[in-house]
Symmetry: C2
Subunit: 110 residues, 2 copies
């Protein structure tokens, strides 16, 4: 698992990215991020929920209360067009950081 100090700032991009594949509820978003990173990137739900509200408030996500077959209520999040537009510049920012760290600190890109 990657340390907190390193992964700061990664959560928003990770959320946007997993929602790019389709709508998901909060708990599942956390699961997908962990799965896609083979366990390297993991967020507590206490970190994810406040982030989801903030991103909804910014207009990056839309949230709908959905009642499943079993009668359980879940909050289903989907990307808005505004949220989709954030993906490209955010990926570019991270690519910039990667490049800078390879130059300054000789971090490999393997």
């Amino acid at each position: 698992m990657i340390r907190t100090e390193l992964k700061r700032g990664t959560a928003e991009l990770a959320i946007l990215s997993v929602l790019e594949e389709g709508p998901l509820h909060g708990y599942e978003i956390g699961r997908r991020i962990e799965e896609h990173s083979a366990g390297a990137l993991r967020y507590t739900l206490a970190a994810l929920y406040p982030l989801l509200y903030r991103m909804e408030h910014r207009g990056w996500l839309r949230a709908d209360w959905v009642t499943g077959d079993n009668g359980k209520r879940r909050r289903c999040y989907r990307l808005t067009s505004r949220g989709k537009k954030m993906l490209k510049p955010m990926r570019a920012e991270w690519a910039d950081l990667f490049r800078a760290l390879r130059q300054v600190a000789k971090v490999s890109h393997a």
Copy 2:
């Protein structure tokens, strides 16, 4: 310039890396990091100095007061053997984060 939220955690590795080339004083450390990253990675001196103390206290750096030709006192920092040993695992940690973000968020490695 890369945003604060992204670059959190990068400062320690950047400092260790520029000191790998040879001893430097605080002000020059900041300059080198900026130079090596073509201006992408930049830290205020108010961020660097407390970090340097902390790293000295941990035994990663040794600091010597040096009086230059012009009579100006400067604090010269150099890597200790303990500091050198930190470089490899820290680079590996960052490489892990890069890999995870490429997988989860499709951040390019270009």
